[in-house]
């Protein structure tokens, strides 16, 4: 057991279970999540409907697992997009001359000064589509700035190292140097931010869908399930609001714990040097 001391074991197990449950949603679901059973709407949790039904008569227990797929997928996809942009942009900025570097960093600062949700609404209006890919792109292109800044700082520190210079002398291209030399060096310092990015992408999706700007009600995700909560408030259907939210918060907490562990481990490594 000593091996697991200090590691976020509980968080990892819970997160693993939630991911497994979502991947194999078909196995654990006991109703069709998209079927609107109009005879059974707004039913409280009970034997037949474990977590109750929403005001469209859909079974919340089945929707949680089925919809979790969308939420988690958007979390990972958006992070993949934002990390890719951040790595390329940050590296470019880091290896550029002082003027270009300055302009590129000022640009990220200006983007950072627009509140994230407004930036997302802007991009959403530009893309104008409401599906998983579009929402992931929207969240991805609006959340790369802080990682890019970190990447740039790290690249600035290693770009004059001999092995990088040698590699360039031997005719290596931008992406070769990036993949072979820069990336392995800065990955540990941005890992924490990448994990936290998954978390903020999931939050952004749920907030957007809740406000009616993300996924429509027919596409089930934890956010779009919560967009029905205004009606649930009127009929006092607490389960429609609380249950998807609890799943959301537990997932976010597990991710945060894992992220914090990565950060602490990284800090420890540094102080030992």
């Amino acid at each position: 057991m000593k091996r697991f001391k200090g590691k976020p074991l509980v968080s990892a197990i819970i997160l693993g279970l939630i991911i497994l449950g979502c991947v194999f949603a078909e196995v654990i679901m006991n109703h069709d999540p998209v079927y609107m059973d109009l005879a059974n709407f707004d039913k409280a949790p009970g034997k037949e409907f474990f977590f109750g039904t929403d005001n469209l008569g859909r079974d919340i227990y089945s929707m949680i697992w089925y919809g979790g797929r969308c939420s988690l997928m958007i979390g990972f996809l958006a992070t993949l997009i934002s990390t890719t942009i951040a790595v390329v942009y940050g590296t470019l900025s880091g290896i550029s001359g002082m003027l270009v570097d300055d302009i590129m960093m000022r640009f990220t600062e200006i983007l950072l000064s627009i509140p994230g949700i407004l930036l997302i609404i802007f991009v959403q209006a530009m893309i104008g589509q409401q599906n998983i890919l579009a929402i992931s792109i929207i969240i991805g292109v609006t959340s790369w700035m802080s990682i890019a800044k970190m990447v740039r700082t790290e690249v600035k520190l290693i770009r004059t190292q001999e092995y990088v210079l040698v590699s360039k002398q031997m005719g290596a291209g931008f992406f070769h140097v990036l993949g072979k030399h820069y990336f392995p060096n800065f990955i540990s310092s941005i890992m924490f931010m990448i994990v936290m990015n998954v978390r903020s992408a999931i939050v952004a999706e749920s907030t957007l869908s809740f406000l009616g700007l993300g996924l429509p009600i027919e596409v089930i995700s934890w956010g779009s399930m919560l967009s029905l909560s205004e009606k649930a408030l009127i009929s006092n259907a607490w389960w429609v609001i609380l249950i998807p939210g609890v799943f959301l918060v537990i997932t976010l907490m597990c991710i945060t714990n894992i992220g914090n562990y990565i950060r602490e481990r990284m800090n420890k490594g540094e102080s030992n040097m």
Binding site: F122, A125, M126, T207, L248, V249
Partner: protein, 339 residues
Amino acid sequence: MNKRKKLLILIAKKMLVFFVSIFALSIIAFSMSRIAPGDPLVSYYGDRAERMNTEEREHAIHRLGLDGTLTDQYVAWFKGAIKGDFGESFKYKENVLTVIAGRLVNTLLLGGIGFLLTFFLALLLGILCALHEGDWLDTLLCKVGTITSCIPEFWLSLVLILIFSVTFHLLPSSGAFGLGEADSILSRIRHMILPMVVIVLSHLWYYAYLIRNKLIDEKRKEYVLMSKSMGLTNRQVMWRHCVRNIMPAFISIMAISLNHVLEGTYIVEMVYSYPGIGTLSFESAKYHDYNMLMVLVIIMGVVVILGNIIGQIISENIDHRMKEEAIIEDAEVVASEKI
């Protein structure tokens, strides 16, 4: 004399950065909002816009200043903006500034008080945790804090509405004041409680944790040992010395976190349909109310960029150690540029 000159140069430099940033922001916001698909005429003329013939349409487009290239439109907008004329809101058909003025007070009250309250409580909580470092109280607060920081603002708002408005009927769930109670301060306060709680709770731990860690670093310093050997208690050392020493860092954290808290305020305003500039920005982005959107983005930019500059000035000037470090860092960067 020399000192005053230096200060003037510093102010001039910061002003330049400020104006260039705002200018760039206005260009970005301008082009982004106009590239977005959607018909701004609909927000001005409503359904009538769809029944217009070509001639009427052209006339309407000209009237709203939407003809010409993007550059022409920007130049026209910029010329007006310098004179203080930001145009007319497409949706409210009134001068943009008049509409915003009515809403700005609400947001300033909600966001401003929320902001100060968050940092006041964060400081107290940080001190409490640092004093009890490592024992059960600190561990408990850290655990609870991490949980609260994982709760999305909109969901926390919903849960609070469910508990306090729907179940117990204690507090109102939306708006800034009751029907016909616009002048009643009590009604305004009652409407502000829930949104305020959400703003404070969702940001509190993030900053409390930062302050806790800063204070814990401070506790490791040697002057603490000396003060204790002179007979001061832990509490006295903490309040008289440690807290005072982290003040510059605290204020600069406050200044650069304006953006973060502002964003939270926007989301909370939308959930509680609170008539502030958050709901207004949301509306104007959705309905392509260009003139309105531009002013709102610029107001936001001014607040956030000013905050950043203030944060920088504080950390460079009040805390001289930071300045020296910054100079060394700059020198290193410059040196690496030359290679």
